[in-house]
Amino acid sequence: MAVSQQGNLKVWHRFDRKQQWISWAGWLTGTIIFVYCFQLISEKTFWMFVWDAPTQVGDLAYRMIPPTWGYFDKIWKPLWDTINIATLGTLLAIIIAVPIAFIAAANTTPSTKFVRPFALLAIVSSRSINSIIWALLLVAIVGPGLFAGIIAIGLRSVGFIAKLLYEAIEEIDPKQVEAIQATGAGRLQVLTYGIVPQILPAFAGISVYRWDINIRESTVLGLVGAGGIGLQLNASIMELAWSKVSLILIAIIITVIFSEWISAKVRHAII
């Protein structure tokens, strides 16, 4: 803030002289860096290919249209596999994540010092490894196929579900829990009457949301051999069969829209 006196007028500027200089120098440095970087990138880019891009896009679109509709009876099976990978993977994740969430939540954990850190570690490690990396590992361990895909999706989702669920558990209204305790209810009864009803909407929302994400993730698992539509997609790209690629993309989009529709319905029904 700069206030200066000019005669008997009080003049106010947002910045004083020093701040104005700093700001100007900042913009100048930024511009120099931008120009320098642009040159570096430009030197390593084959501009010929970039100028060519619109033609390439047009060419690709031309080859993609019309899609090979006849190929559809070859992809409905892997598409179904993809949905199954997502669904079974999500179920597996839920089974593992629910107990982890209760152990990780500060208000329900059996021991803050000894058990809770392990639950948090499990959550972090599951979340930090992408499902395609899980799939690479699992294809090496259990061999290629659906099973590897299901476990990859499951392991990746455990952290996501457990994290959101334990946050929901920590946000419950403690008074309702207290009221159930006051009746002389045991630990498990307090859990099922005082806590579970409060987190049920969050649980349903989280699970369906994750299932929705998993449908999208499982479409690429085939690229590393873990089953599903990704395998066909990869093969079609490799043999430059662009009309098949476009059909597969259309099929994936329809599936994703369908899964979003279901998850929206379920969330509405439960909340």
């Binding site: 207290e178 009221a179 159930i180 009746t183 045991g186 009864q189 009803p197 409060q198």
Partner: protein
């Protein structure tokens, strides 16, 4: 029935909520516990059923020392103490019936309660109580669909279905309108008399305490400063409990006070304006 001896509570933060409280509540007595916020009223009744563990002193209930009970025996003891909460503390997403039946959790096993397979006698009891509190037409409503007064009635039914000998009531009218407050207090007192229950009611509304309690205990900074009849609550006693205040302030006095303060404001405002 209930006897507290030198009850002391100090929280982990170092704050002392109760210094040393001696109190005895006989069977069938409705006792109001009054006092300013932070006096330790809530802590006191939560110590009785050990929702808050006391840090010193003893609590005798039904000739047993509550402070020495192991966890299993404590759960059994809690069944004999019904608790009614400020802002009701119903499980919002469960039905009225489930909320009432949750008062029986101390009596039924886990799987029966999980599968909602309560004994028929409990269900009969629940229907009887719901009829008594006038909510028998709302059995299947979810608790969050009810009004404040209706929720507190469900809270009362949940406490009574425990078949308690003591009612611990924490600010039952704090979020209710004046008329509903009276109805709720009346209902609690009637039911306590019908069943000859000892009843400790935390309440900050002094007129309500005067109207419904047989005995009033005043708490200030974790100490009992008054113990007597509602009639004995005179200005000196109220000042002793709550601190200095004009307890007889009425409509005219309020009006006068308002004029006085606005005059003061004008006088002080003028010179301030000139100096700028």
């Amino acid at each position: 029935m209930l006897r507290l001896e030198a009850l002391h509570k100090r929280y982990a933060t170092g704050e002392v909520a109760l210094t040393s409280v001696d109190l005895e509540v006989p069977k069938g007595q409705v006792m109001a516990l009054i006092g300013p916020s932070g006096a330790g009223k809530s802590t006191l009744i939560r110590c009785v059923n050990r929702l808050v563990p006391p840090s010193g002193g003893r609590i005798f209930f039904d000739s047993q020392d509550v402070t020495r009970l192991g966890s299993r025996k404590l759960l059994k003891m809690r069944r004999k103490m019904g608790m009614i909460f400020q802002e009701f503390a119903l499980v919002e997403r469960l039905s009225v019936m489930e909320n009432v039946l949750s008062g029986r959790l101390g009596y039924v096993g886990f799987w029966r309660s999980f599968l909602r397979k309560y004994p028929q006698s409990d269900i009969d009891d629940a229907f009887r109580l719901l009829k008594r509190i006038g909510l028998d037409h709302m059995v299947d409503k979810r608790a969050d669909e009810l009004s404040g007064g209706q929720r507190q009635r469900v809270g009362i039914a949940r406490a009574l279905i425990q078949d308690p000998q003591l009612l611990l009531v924490d600010e039952p009218t704090a979020s209710l309108d004046p008329k509903t407050s009276r109805q709720i207090m009346r209902l609690i007192c009637e039911l306590a008399h019908e069943r000859n229950l000892a009843c400790v009611i935390n309440i900050h509304d002094v007129p309500l305490a005067r109207m419904f309690a047989q005995r009033v205990v005043g708490l200030r900074l974790g100490e009992i400063v008054y113990d007597g009849t509602p009639e004995g609550l005179n200005d000196d006693v109220l000042t002793e409990i709550y601190g200095e205040e004009d307890w007889h302030i009425n409509k005219y006095a309020r009006k006068a006070a308002r004029q006085e303060s606005s005059c003061e404001k004008e006088e002080t405002a003028k010179p301030a304006a000139m100096s700028v």
